[in-house]
Amino acid sequence: MSDKTIHALYTDDDVLLGAVKQVREKHYHIEEVFTPFPVHGLEKAMGIADTRLAINAFLYGIIGLTVATVMMNYIMIQDWPQNIGGKPSFSYLENMPAFVPIMFELTVFFAAHLMVITFYLRSRLWPFKSAENPDVRTTDDHFLMEIDATGKDIEEMTKFLHDTGAVEIKIIDKDAH
C-alpha cells in the first residue's frame, strides 16, 4: 500500500495518446498530462468535459455589442448630436447603419480579450506565477503523464506503463510533491 504518484514520460504524442487510452481502460486515475504542444484529441482521450469557453465568448460578444450601442447612443445622440452629412442625429435607430462597424468591432474586441483573460484565469495562469509542471523537459520534447498510485501495486503499474511505451518512470511521494 502506498500514497504515491507516478510520473511516466513519453517522447511521442501518438504513443502518449495510445497510452492514455490504455491507462484509462485499466481504470487508473490520470491526474494530469503535461505536453510541450497541444495534442489533438488528448482531452477526449482523457475524458475531460467539453470546454465552456465558447458559451463565455458568446456572452462576452453580447456584452461588447451592448457597450457599443450604449456608448454610441450617449456620445452621438444624447450628449453631443452633430450634423454629419445630414444624417439623422437625434435617433439611434435611424442612424444605426453608421454605428454598425463600431458595434461589430467592439463585439469582436470584447469577445476576444475577455475570452483570453478567462482562459488564463481558468488555467490558473497569472503574472509571477511559478511553473506547475513537474519536469522541465515537458516544455521541450517530453510528454509527462501523472497517475495516482494510491493503494495500487506500484510494481505492476510500473511494468504496465513501460509496456505502453513510457521511456522513464518516476515514483513520487505525495507528501513531498
Partner: protein
C-alpha cells in the same frame, strides 16, 4: 422616376407624352406636349396610371420566370466554383463529395441553355424587362432617349450582351464537361495521377476565368435591370449568394443521399465542414450586403440611393426580411459547433438559406421590372417549382450515372478518414 420613364416603352408613348405629368420630369414631356387635351387631363392621367400598371404586370410573369431560372442556374454555377476550389486547394476532406458536386454542377448545361433562351427572348423583344433595350433609347430627340443609358451603349447593347452571355456559358460548360470527364478517367486509370493533374490545371484556369466572367455576368444579367445604377462590389455580392446557395445544396443532397443509405464513407465531420462553409459564407454575404448598403446610404447620392429607396419603400418586408433570413438565421442556428453535426439543424438552416437567397435575387430584379406592383403569386411559385423540378431531375440523374465514390482520387483515403 427615371426608371419608370424608360420603362414605358414606345407603345405606351401616346398617352404618356401628351401631358406634362409632374412625375415625368425629363425632356420628352416638354417636347411632345401638344394642345387640345387640357379638358381630358384627369381621365388621361388615370388611364396612364392604368397603362403603367398594365406594363408592370405584363413584366411580372417574365420576371418571375427569370428570377427562378437564374436562381437555380446560379446554384449550379456556385457549386462548380466550389468544386474547382476544392481541386485547386487539393483539399483532403472533400473528395468523397466530388460525385455529389459533379451531379449538382451538371445542371450548368441545361440551366445555361434555359438561361440563354430567356436572355435571347428579352434581346429579341419578346418582353420589356430590360428597360435599356427600349428602342430609341440612345437616339437624341427620341421619346425614349435616355442620356445615361446612351452613354453606356458601347458596352450595353443587345448583340454584344448576347455574345458575352454565350461566351461565358460556353466557357463554364467547357470546364464542367472536362472536369467530369477527367474525374471519371482518373477512376479508370489512377496510375501516375495523369487525369488528376490535368484536372488541377483546368480548375486553376477556370477559377481565373470564372471570377472575371461571373462579375461581368452579374452586371449583365442582374445589375442592368437598373441601368442607371451601379455598384462596384456587385459581382462579389452575387458571387456570395451563388456560393452559399451552391454549398447549401451540396449539404442538402449529401444528407439526403446519406439518409437513403448511400455515401457510407461520408461522416458527421464532412457535414460539419459543409455547415461551417454555410455559416461562414452567409456572414460573408452579409458583410458585402452591408458594405454596399452603408456606403450608398451614407453618401446619399441621388443616382445611387434610388436603388435602396425603391427597395425600402416598396419591398420593405422582403428587403429586410431577406437580410434576417440570410444573416440572423444561419448566425444563430449554425453558430454552435455541435449543431453543425445535427442533420436536421443543417437541413432547416439550408432550406431557409435557399429561400433567403431566392428572395435576394427577387429583390434585385423585381423593383426594376414590376416596381410596386409585386406580389408572390402563381407565376413566382410556379416558376420556382418548374425550375426546381428540372434542377432535381438533372442533378439526380447525373448522380445516378457514376459510382458515388471517386475512388481514383489521390486524396480519397484522407477524405474517408476525415475526422474533426
Amino acid at each position: 422616376m427615371l426608371a419608370n420613364d424608360t420603362e414605358h416603352g414606345d407603345d405606351h408613348g401616346a398617352a404618356a407624352n401628351t401631358h406634362q405629368v409632374a412625375s415625368h420630369d425629363d425632356a420628352h414631356g416638354d417636347v411632345h406636349a401638344s394642345d387640345g387635351h387640357g379638358d381630358a387631363h384627369a381621365s388621361d392621367h388615370e388611364s396612364e396610371h392604368i397603362e403603367h400598371l398594365y406594363h408592370q404586370l405584363s413584366n411580372k410573369p417574365w420576371s418571375a420566370l427569370y428570377v427562378a431560372c437564374f436562381f437555380f442556374f446560379m446554384i449550379a454555377l456556385g457549386c462548380t466554383a466550389f468544386y474547382a476550389i476544392q481541386k485547386v486547394a487539393q483539399a483532403g476532406w472533400s473528395p468523397g463529395l466530388f460525385r455529389v458536386m459533379e451531379g449538382i454542377s451538371s445542371y450548368l448545361f441545361i440551366g445555361g441553355i434555359l438561361m440563354f433562351v430567356l436572355l435571347l427572348a428579352s434581346g429579341l423583344g419578346a418582353n420589356h424587362i430590360f428597360t435599356w433595350m427600349n428602342p430609341g433609347i440612345a437616339e437624341v430627340g427620341h421619346e425614349n432617349y435616355d442620356a445615361l443609358v446612351a452613354g453606356k451603349t458601347g458596352f450595353l447593347n443587345v448583340p454584344f450582351w448576347l455574345i458575352r452571355a454565350g461566351a461565358f456559358l460556353v466557357g463554364w460548360n467547357l470546364y464542367r464537361w472536362n472536369i467530369r470527364k477527367f474525374s471519371l478517367k482518373q477512376d479508370e486509370e489512377p496510375d501516375g495521377n495523369v487525369w488528376y493533374k490535368k484536372g488541377f490545371k483546368h480548375s486553376a484556369m477556370f477559377l481565373v476565368f470564372f471570377i472575371v466572367t461571373e462579375s461581368i455576368m452579374s452586371w449583365d444579367w442582374i445589375m442592368s435591370f437598373d441601368p442607371h445604377w451601379f455598384s462596384t462590389l456587385f459581382g462579389w455580392y452575387v458571387f456570395a449568394s451563388m456560393f452559399v446557395s451552391g454549398i447549401t445544396v451540396i449539404a442538402l443532397v449529401t444528407i439526403y443521399l446519406k439518409s437513403r443509405g448511400h455515401l457510407e464513407f461520408i461522416n458527421d465531420s464532412h457535414i460539419h465542414d459543409l455547415a461551417k462553409f454555410m455559416f461562414g459564407i452567409s456572414i460573408f454575404w452579409t458583410y458585402l450586403w452591408f458594405s454596399q448598403f452603408m456606403l450608398i446610404w451614407y453618401s446619399n447620392i441621388p443616382e445611387e440611393v434610388t436603388y435602396f429607396i425603391t427597395r425600402i419603400e416598396d419591398y420593405n418586408i422582403l428587403f429586410f426580411g431577406m437580410v434576417a433570413i440570410n444573416f440572423l438565421f444561419p448566425l444563430l442556428i449554425l453558430m454552435n459547433s455541435d449543431f453543425k453535426r445535427v442533420n436536421w439543424f443543417v437541413v432547416t438552416a439550408g432550406i431557409f438559406i435557399l429561400l433567403g437567397h431566392y428572395l435576394d435575387i427577387y429583390v434585385m430584379v423585381m423593383p426594376a421590372t414590376v416596381g410596386e406592383s409585386w406580389f408572390i403569386g402563381m407565376p413566382e411559385i410556379g416558376s420556382f417549382m418548374l425550375f426546381a423540378g428540372i434542377f432535381l431531375l438533372v442533378i439526380f440523374n447525373t448522380i445516378s450515372k457514376a459510382p458515388l465514390l471517386a475512388k481514383g482520387d489521390p486524396f480519397i483515403g484522407e477524405s474517408k478518414h476525415f475526422h474533426y
